[in-house]
């Protein structure tokens, strides 16, 4: 990344890597959705760099067996590929959901107080 206003993007890119796949699983937790819908929502929320990044992720999640796709023909317009969570995907999502709160709390604490309140590593001799 260069420095024409994109350090923010560079930081986001690093943060997105681990969480974007789980966000897809979470969006599919309660209902099936079609790729365009997922791509638009994730791009609007800045979970991915662009809507186009969602499709490789969907492809990877599908080849990992965590989601499944099926074509549906709407009454009007183009056929749409819908995705839904598999049992294996649900397990992966549940595990991530269980880890996430304590992980975020830990990171937030470090960011807010520098992890220095109780003689953390920064103050160590």
């Amino acid at each position: 990344m260069d420095d024409d206003g994109s350090p923010r993007e560079a930081a986001l890119t690093q943060l997105r890597k681990g969480v974007a796949p789980y966000c897809i699983l979470a969006l599919l937790a309660d209902r099936e959705r079609y790729g365009y819908d997922l791509a638009r929502e994730l791009a609007q929320r800045e979970v991915v760099a662009g809507a186009g990044s969602v499709y490789p992720l969907l492809s990877r999640l599908q080849s990992d067996g965590l989601i499944r796709s099926a074509w549906r023909e709407p009454d009007e317009g183009m056929p749409r590929k819908y995705y839904r969570l598999t049992a294996e995907g649900q397990v992966a999502l549940d595990r991530f959901r269980a880890l996430w709160p304590s992980f975020v709390a830990s990171i937030s604490e470090i960011l807010q107080v520098g992890g220095a309140t109780e003689g953390g590593p920064r103050n160590a001799p």
Binding site: G35, Y36, A39, A49, G50, G52, Y55, R60, A70, W71
Partner: protein, 223 residues
């Protein structure tokens, strides 16, 4: 759409295709097809110009960055390979017992309805035309001749016995090729459209043309 827009779109997808080069061809084709479908829907739903619309997708490099060869998330156990096994079941069933294969393909949701319909039509047409073509070859009419009050009924074949022999042999061969070949064509087409749902239906269309032209020629020749 302005003509230049088409060029811009094709340039963009060519760049994405290059960036996805390390991927297996079927995954690359699938991602490109999904991106093209996304672009088409977005184009219909928004008034954005094509450059802004492509910018929304991200750069080819950003897209490729998400297509890593490793799994997207930590695995929960050994891979099932369920997707490949299911495809294998459908394609094998299409070759060996095509009505079952077509039903499974339709039920699986892995194929668009159009692809399933094309696969079904191919085999139905192959079998149907074969059966219709072979029946006249082996059929005959009866001719009754009466002399001095005694009538004799004899079978009269439509064509000379020698030619009829050739036609039966040729028709029989065509029947076997049609019976065995068209389910294979259907299965190959399903395999093709599973990898790339946007694939043009050249294979079934060429097969239909060969079947129909062949039947027409055979019919003209035998008439």
């Amino acid at each position: 759409m302005h003509p230049d827009d088409g060029t811009a779109v094709e340039r963009f997808f060519a760049a994405v295709s290059d960036a996805l080069q390390p991927l297996a061809p079927e995954r690359r084709a699938e991602i490109l097809a999904d991106l093209r479908a996304h672009t088409e829907i977005r184009r219909r739903q928004s008034s954005l110009d094509i450059q802004a619309l492509l910018a929304e997708l991200g750069t080819p490099e950003q897209i490729a960055a998400e297509a890593g060869l490793e799994g997207a998330v930590a695995r929960t156990g050994p891979g099932t390979g369920a997707r490949d096994i299911w495809s294998l079941i459908v394609l094998t069933a299409t070759v060996l017992a095509w009505p079952l294969g077509i039903v499974l393909a339709a039920a699986s949701g892995r194929w668009r309805a159009r692809a399933v319909a094309y696969a079904a039509i191919t085999t139905v047409l192959g079998w149907g035309v074969d059966l219709l073509a072979v029946v006249p070859i082996t059929s005959f009419t009866q001719q009754t001749t009466c002399q001095q009050g005694v009538c004799v009924t004899t079978p009269v074949h439509f064509i000379h016995p020698f030619l009829r022999g050739l036609a039966v042999a040729g028709g029989g061969t065509a029947l076997v090729v049609g019976l065995v070949g068209t389910p294979i064509v259907s299965a190959v087409y399903l395999a093709q459209t599973e990898r790339n749902p946007e694939a043009r239906p050249w294979l079934p269309v060429i097969t239909w043309t060969v079947i129909l032209v062949g039947a027409f020629i055979a019919r003209q020749w035998m008439a």
